[in-house]
Every structure is written in structure tokens, then in C-alpha cells.
């Protein structure tokens, strides 16, 4: 075994003697005749062992011992003394000296002591290294644990972990909310007690079901639909250590599914009615219900044709609706003048309006100013609003169109003096297929899709559409688009 040894001894003969013996054994030896010299060495070198003479010319051995220990707590120390008096031994031991070597000593004694001390030093260094490594891994573990904890804590899904004994070991805040208690109250409790509420019945059953028969299932908690999964977790040997329960709130997905199915149901009805009518109208003709004179069937065939025309229009509107939903409209977005489009569209409805004595009045303060807006989409918005204002107007009524700029917004108002809507009608007017069924609307063709399309177009552009209506007096729509 080799090592570095510092020898502090004021007697020249003893010092060189020790040096020689240790060098012969292969040790690296540094020596000092006084404490000051020893301290100088300590500044440049780390020593495995220090042999200290008790009586030094400058300071006493105990003081130097203290200084060496301050410098490197792991340096092994040995006090060399001719006065093996008990008081000094007690003081040095208290101060933590590792060994005493009373003079006179044999070279074997010296080498034995130094080797012994070296061994201890190596053991202590190794122990310190292990301790540090252990501490480091504890810190890493703690930080990993805290990361996992934060991760689980901020999950929107509710998580509950049960150990093999059926006790809850972890509950995240989402789960605690569902349980209506805080995590501390729950951890350590039997899971069946924690999940005692009736809403958790299906989950309790699942926990009692053999693993291979478990599956994903839905369960209603606090009026919200949850998808529940129970997964067994295993250790490296494959032994089951417990279960992880996750509950994901799928109310929104459910709501969309319900909405979609409602839409489909309405669509089926909206298609079935005209189809039924067309079929009946044609049956009358095929059946020759009115005799062999074909002129008698003209009105039936005309009505069938008109109903088919309406269906074709509706199919087109449905396609537009799905395009808007999928954001697949062709957004050419060439700069164009919105006022110009309003004027053109208003002109399209002029004949229809005039035939019922309705006046269309445009106030387009926006002028020819151009903005980046999809021309087709703007046309659809304007067309639907003006079309409705004419369609649901009263004879000799008025349609007022105002287009203006309002602090970075383009604002279109379309007001009519028509039949108006009930408050329920105004609230539902943007729903697909919604039409107020009243005597006044009986003869007006429509499929209730136009305003749904308009609303979606406007909202997709970051704009808004508002409606206000007074039954029997008229309706006004206000569209705001960012430009």
C-alpha cells in the first residue's frame, strides 16, 4: 500500500529516521521540523497520514492536529510522543486523533501504524464517496418523484392509484375533486370505501373484475360523462402491484356526438318531408287519379318540380355548411370593395322586392375602399341577409342596408320592417334547419340553413353576428368583421 505521509518532528534524527523507513516501504514522505512548515505543506498537498510530534517548538501538537483536521477531515493522524501521559491522550482522543505511537518505536511498529491508518483512510474515502453517490441519487429520485407528482397533479384526467392491498396510494387533484374530498383524507384508505358513492358503482365492479375481463367503460359522475380505464401495474418480475384508475371527462365529445345525431335526425326529417310530398304528387299522376286528361296534372308536376328544385338548393347549402365547418372554403382573399358587392346583391333582389312594393335603401359609407375579404363568402353573407329581409317582409315594407367602417371593423346592418320573430325564434334563428312555423311563413320557401352558414362564416373570420327582432315589426341583423 502506498500513500503520502507528512512527518512533523523537530528532532532531526528521529525525523530523518522515520523518513527513511517510510520511503523504503514506498511511501511518498514530506517532512516538517515545526508546525509552520507543516502548514505550508498542507497548502500545496493533500496527505493521507500525518505523524505529529506532541512537542513542537512553535505550537503544541494538539493545536496542529486541529489545523490538519480543518484542512482535510479525512487525513489520518497519529500522535508521536515520548510522554505517554494520560491527560494528553484524553485531550488528543477528544480532538479525534486516530492513533498514538509512543517513543521509542521499532520500524515495524511505524510501518504497521501507517499502513493501518492508510487502510482506514481508504475505507473512509470510499464510504464518503458512497454516501455522496447515495445522496445524489436520493436528490435525483426526489426530483423525479416531484416531476411525476407535478405531472400527475396537472393532468385534467382524474388519476387514482391503488396498491395490491386495495388501499389508495395516490389521488391527483382532478380525482380529489370528483371524490369531493382532499387527497390527504383519501390516501391510505381502502379504495372501496373511497369509491362508496353510487356514481362509482361501475368502477367498483371493474376493480373487482378479473384483469383479463376489464375494459374501458363509461360512467356518469356529477352529471358529466367519464371514460374510465383500470390498468394493472406490475413490477419487474411481473407481479401485480396494484391498479391505476384514470377517468377522462368526455362530456364535450358526447355533446358533439349528440349534436351531430340531432343534426342528422333533423336532416332526415327535412329530406323526408319533401321526398314524401314529391312521391305523393307523382303518384297522383301515375295513378291517373284525376282522369286521363294530362292538363289536370300540370299543377302537381309543377309542384313536384319546385320541391325538387328546393331539395337541390338544400343539398348545395349543406355542402357549403360542411365546407365552412371543415374550413375548406376557397379563401382567395383578393382585395375587394365590400360596398360594391352589397350594391350588386341588393340589385339582384330589386325585382323580387318591387313586386311586393318593398323598398331597398342602401347607405354605403364605406365607399370603394378595398379590404382583404373572400368575395364569395362576403356575397353569401350579404345575400342571405338581404334575401331574408325581402322574403320575410310585409307588402310595401322597407329594407335598410348600412355598411360602414368602425375602428378596424367592417359593420353591416340589415334591417327590415317585416313579420319579425318571437324571442324564441330570434334565439334559435342560427340553428341548422330552424324555421319559425307560423301562418306568415307557411308559403315562404326556405330550409333554415342560410343563417347557420352566415353565422359560421362570420365567426370563422373572427367576427360576430347579432340579431334583434320584434314580432310583427321587423328584424335587424348586425355583422361585424375585422378588416
Amino acid at each position: 500500500m502506498t500513500g503520502t505521509v507528512l512527518v512533523i518532528e523537530d528532532e532531526y534524527g528521529v525525523r530523518t529516521g522515520i523518513e527513511q523507513i517510510l520511503r523504503m516501504e514506498g511511501f511518498e514522505v514530506w517532512s516538517a521540523a515545526c508546525a509552520r512548515e507543516a502548514i505550508d505543506h498542507l497548502k500545496t498537498k493533500t496527505f493521507d497520514v500525518a505523524l505529529i510530534d506532541y512537542q513542537l517548538p512553535d505550537v503544541d501538537g494538539l493545536t496542529l492536529l486541529h489545523q490538519i483536521q480543518q484542512h482535510d477531515g479525512l487525513t489520518k493522524t497519529c500522535m508521536i510522543t515520548a510522554y505517554a501521559n494520560i491527560d494528553m491522550a484524553i485531550a488528543a482522543t477528544r480532538q479525534g486523533v486516530d492513533f498514538f505511537l509512543p517513543k521509542p518505536f521499532t520500524p515495524e511498529d511505524l510501518v504497521g501504524v501507517v499502513n493501518n491508518l492508510l487502510k482506514r483512510r481508504h475505507v473512509e474515502i470510499e464510504a464518503a464517496r458512497l454516501r455522496e453517490a447515495h445522496e445524489a441519487s436520493l436528490i435525483a429520485l426526489a426530483s423525479e418523484k416531484s416531476q411525476t407528482h407535478s405531472l400527475v397533479s396537472c393532468l385534467r384526467d382524474a388519476v387514482l392509484v391503488v396498491n395490491a392491498a386495495g388501499h389508495v396510494v395516490l389521488v391527483n387533484p382532478s380525482m380529489a375533486r370528483l371524490l369531493g374530498s382532499n387527497a390527504e383524507q383519501v390516501v391510505g384508505q381502502p379504495v372501496m370505501d373511497v369509491l362508496a358513492a353510487p356514481a362509482f358503482g361501475p368502477l367498483r365492479e371493474q376493480l373487482e373484475t378479473p384483469e383479463e375481463k376489464r375494459g374501458v367503460f363509461e360512467c356518469e359522475i356529477d352529471d358529466r360523462a367519464h371514460m374510465v380505464r383500470v390498468v394493472v401495474f406490475r413490477d419487474e418480475e411481473g407481479t401485480a402491484r396494484g391498479s391505476i384508475v384514470t377517468l377522462s371527462d368526455i362530456s364535450e365529445v358526447r355533446r358533439l356526438a349528440v349534436e351531430k345525431s340531432r343534426f342528422l335526425r333533423t336532416l332526415v326529417h327535412e329530406l323526408r318531408s319533401p321526398l314524401g310530398a314529391i312521391r305523393s304528387l307523382l303518384e297522383v299522376v301515375m295513378d291517373r287519379s284525376l282522369g286521363e286528361e294530362m292538363n289536370a296534372y300540370d299543377s302537381f308536376l309543377q309542384r313536384a318540380d319546385a320541391r325538387i328544385e328546393n331539395l337541390v338548393g338544400m343539398v348545395g347549402q349543406l355542402l357549403t355548411l360542411s365546407r365552412v365547418d371543415e374550413q375548406r372554403t376557397t379563401e382567395s382573399c383578393e382585395p375587394m370593395a365590400p360596398a360594391q358587392v352589397v350594391e350588386e346583391v341588393a340589385k339582384l333582389y330589386e325585382d323580387q322586392a318591387r313586386s311586393r312594393g318593398i323598398t331597398i335603401r342602401c347607405t354605403l359609407s364605406d365607399g370603394d375602399e378595398r379590404v382583404r375579404l373572400d368575395r364569395d363568402e362576403w356575397q353569401t353573407i350579404v345575400g342571405n341577409l338581404i334575401g331574408n329581409a325581402v322574403k320575410y317582409n310585409k307588402p310595401n315594407g322597407m329594407v335598410e342596408i348600412v355598411l360602414q367602417r368602425e375602428q378596424g371593423w367592417l359593420r353591416l346592418d340589415v334591417r327590415d320592417t317585416g313579420i319579425g320573430m318571437s324571442s324564441d325564434g330570434a334565439r334559435r334563428v342560427f340553428e341548422e334547419f330552424y324555421r319559425e312555423r307560423r301562418a306568415e311563413t307557411r308559403d315562404t320557401e326556405g330550409n333554415g340553413l342560410g343563417l347557420s352558414i352566415v353565422q359560421r362564416l362570420v365567426q370563422r373570420k373572427g367576427g360576430s353576428i347579432d340579431v334583434s327582432s320584434v314580432l310583427g315589426e321587423g328584424t335587424s341583423f348586425c355583422v361585424r368583421l375585422p378588416v
Binding site: 335526425r265 332526415v268 326529417h269 323526408r272 318531408s273 321526398l275 314524401g276 310530398a277 314529391i278 312521391r279 305523393s280 304528387l281 303518384e283 297522383v284 295513378d287 287519379s289 284525376l290 299543377s299 302537381f300 309542384r303 313536384a304 320541391r307 312555423r437 301562418a439 307557411r442
Partner: protein, 140 residues
């Protein structure tokens, strides 16, 4: 003796076509486009069959109307046909508990729209036949 039918449906074309078809077969046809008009009509006449559309002003107008008709003494035994719908692909009735409705609203027959006039005719004839038998056995 000719039979009388009342059609209640908010589709004017459907009513016009059924009127022509059934009139050609000797039926006396009355139509109503709205619930209130139908009730007015049914206070005046007692038809042999009533045909109701399920969805009119509301999604369940036909059912509610049928229930009201059954409260009228003279109409208690008049057969009622409800025109409704199924989703063709699944064959499942979407929104009706048939047995419960039969009890509550006294509906005798359900037909899915778009129904053909011939299907409707068959249903009407068989219901008239049945009610004739019922009244004959009651008299006996």
C-alpha cells in the same frame, strides 16, 4: 256509403296529392295544415280514419294531437294513423316508444314517411275493415 278521411299535415303538396288520390277512390277527404284547425274540423265531423303527421309545429305535434282527439267522446274509436319515420339504415325508430304511445295517445298504426299513397290506402282500408268488424261485434 263513402268513407271520410281527415289528413293533418303541414305539407300542402302532400295534402293536395292525398286528397286527389283518395277522392279518386270515392273517399271524402278533409285536410288541415295546423293542429288548431284540425281540432276545429274534428268537432264538426266524425271521420272513419284520421291520418296525422308526427312533426308539425313541434317535433311531437302528431302525438299530442292524437291524445287530444282521444279526449273527444265521438272520436274515441276512430282509427288514427301516425306518419313518422325510421332511420332506413338501422331500421330503428328514432324517437318513439311505440307501445307507450299506443296506450297514451291511442295511435292504431304507424307508417314511415315518405309513405306511398298505396301503402296509406292499404292501411286505411284495413283499419276501416277492422273498425267495422268491431262495431258489428259490439252490436251483436
Amino acid at each position: 256509403m263513402s268513407h271520410t278521411i281527415v289528413f293533418v299535415d303541414d305539407d300542402r303538396d302532400f295534402l293536395a296529392a292525398q286528397s286527389a288520390f283518395f277522392a279518386a277512390r270515392g273517399y271524402v277527404v278533409h285536410t288541415a295544415e295546423r293542429e288548431d284547425r284540425a281540432l276545429e274540423l274534428l268537432h264538426e265531423i266524425t271521420p272513419n280514419v284520421i291520418v296525422l303527421d308526427l312533426m308539425m309545429e313541434r317535433a311531437d305535434t302528431g302525438v299530442a294531437l292524437s291524445h287530444k282527439i282521444r279526449q273527444i267522446e265521438a272520436l274515441r274509436a276512430v282509427p288514427i294513423i301516425l306518419l313518422t319515420g325510421v332511420v332506413a339504415a338501422t331500421g330503428r325508430r328514432l324517437d318513439l316508444d311505440v307501445a307507450a304511445l299506443r296506450r297514451w295517445a291511442g295511435i292504431d298504426e304507424y307508417l314511415d314517411k315518405p309513405v306511398t299513397a298505396r301503402q296509406l290506402l292499404r292501411a286505411v282500408e284495413s283499419l276501416i275493415h277492422r273498425s267495422n268488424q268491431d262495431s258489428a261485434s259490439e252490436e251483436a
